[in-house]
Subunit: 149 residues, 2 copies
DNA sequence: CAAAATATTTAAGGTACTTAACTATTGCGC
DNA sequence: GCGCAATAGTTAAGTACCTTAAATATTTTG
C-alpha cells in the first residue's frame, strides 16, 4: 500500500462522500430495528438523548441540534403527546420550562440504545483492533473539530 | 496519553455519540451556505449526486439511500418541478424511467459542492497531516463496513 | 395467455424543518 | 418604579420528506 493521500482536499471529499451514506444506513438500521416497537423516530431518539444528557431547555437543544427553537418546541410537543417528556415550570426564570424524561422515556431510551448499539456492533465486529482504534480516534478528532469550538 | 480504548463497545458508543452531531453540523452548514442561493436542500443535493454518479433509476436511488421507492419518486417530482431532473422513457424496460440531470442541475451541483467543500475544509483545516490521515482511513473503514458488503 | 413478479406512482397521514409573528418574562437605564 | 429592549418560547403557515397501502403499467413465467 502506498503512502495514503492526506491532502486537505482529499480529506474533505472523503468526509463528503462517506458520511451521508453512513448516516443513511444508521437511520435505516434504526427504523428497521426496535424503533417501531416503541414508535419513536431517530430524531426523537436524539432529542431524548440530549435531554437525558442535561439539555433541559428548548434553547439548549436547539443549539446542540443546530435547528430553530421552533423546531425543538414542536418536536417536544410530539414527545409530550407520546408521554415521553414533561414540561415543568419550576425554574427561577418563568420564561423557560424544564424538560424532563418520564420513567417510560428512560425505558424507551435504554431499549432503543441497546438495540441501536447491537446493530452497529454487528456491522463493525469484523474490524481489527487497529481499525477500531483508527475509527475511535477519528471520532474524537471530528468531535473536537465540528462540535466544540 | 494512555493506550486508547479500543473495545468494540467503546467504538460503537463513539460512533453513536459523534456521528449524529457531526451530521447535524454538516446539514446546518449546508443550509447556512450557498444552498438557499439555489434553493435546494441537503437531501436534494444528495439525490442529485446519486444521479450524477450513475444511479439513473428510482429503484437504484432508493437502494442507495435506504428509503422506499415512494420517497424517491416524490423527491424526484420536486426536482423535476425545479427543472433539475428529467424523466426519460428510453430504456428497453418501459416500466422504468431514466433520470437525467439538466445542464442547470450540473451547475447547481458543482456550485453547491464547492461551497460545501469550502465549509468543511475550513473546519478541518486546523488538523495536522497525521490527523487528516486518521480521518481519511476511518472513512475508508466505515465505507467498507457500512456501505459495501 | 393468465397469473405472478417487478418498477413506479398516487394517496393519505405523520414528522421535521423554516420564517414570521406573537406572548410572556426579565432586566436595564434613567 | 417605569418604559423598553432583549430573551425564551410558542403558534401559524408553508415546504420537504418519509412511511404504508393501493393502484398502474409492464415484463416474465408456467
Amino acid at each position: 500500500m502506498n503512502e495514503p493521500e492526506t491532502t486537505l482536499e482529499f480529506a474533505v471529499d472523503s468526509l463528503l462522500e462517506v458520511l451521508p451514506s453512513v448516516w443513511d444506513r444508521i437511520r435505516s438500521n434504526f427504523r428497521a430495528a426496535g424503533t417501531s416497537k416503541f414508535g419513536i423516530t431517530l430524531e426523537q431518539f436524539h432529542t431524548l438523548r440530549h435531554i437525558y444528557k442535561g439539555c433541559c431547555y428548548t434553547g439548549d437543544i436547539a443549539e446542540k441540534r443546530q435547528v430553530s427553537c421552533s423546531a425543538v418546541s414542536q418536536a417536544v410537543d410530539v414527545l409530550v403527546t407520546k408521554g415521553l417528556v414533561t414540561r415543568a415550570q419550576e425554574s427561577g426564570d418563568r420564561r423557560q420550562f424544564r424538560l424532563e424524561l418520564t420513567p417510560y422515556a428512560r425505558r424507551v431510551l435504554d431499549e432503543n440504545y441497546m438495540e441501536n448499539r447491537a446493530l452497529i456492533k454487528q456491522k463493525i465486529a469484523r474490524l481489527s483492533r487497529e481499525q477500531r482504534a483508527i475509527v475511535v480516534q477519528s471520532m474524537e478528532i471530528l468531535k473536537a473539530v465540528f462540535i466544540s469550538a
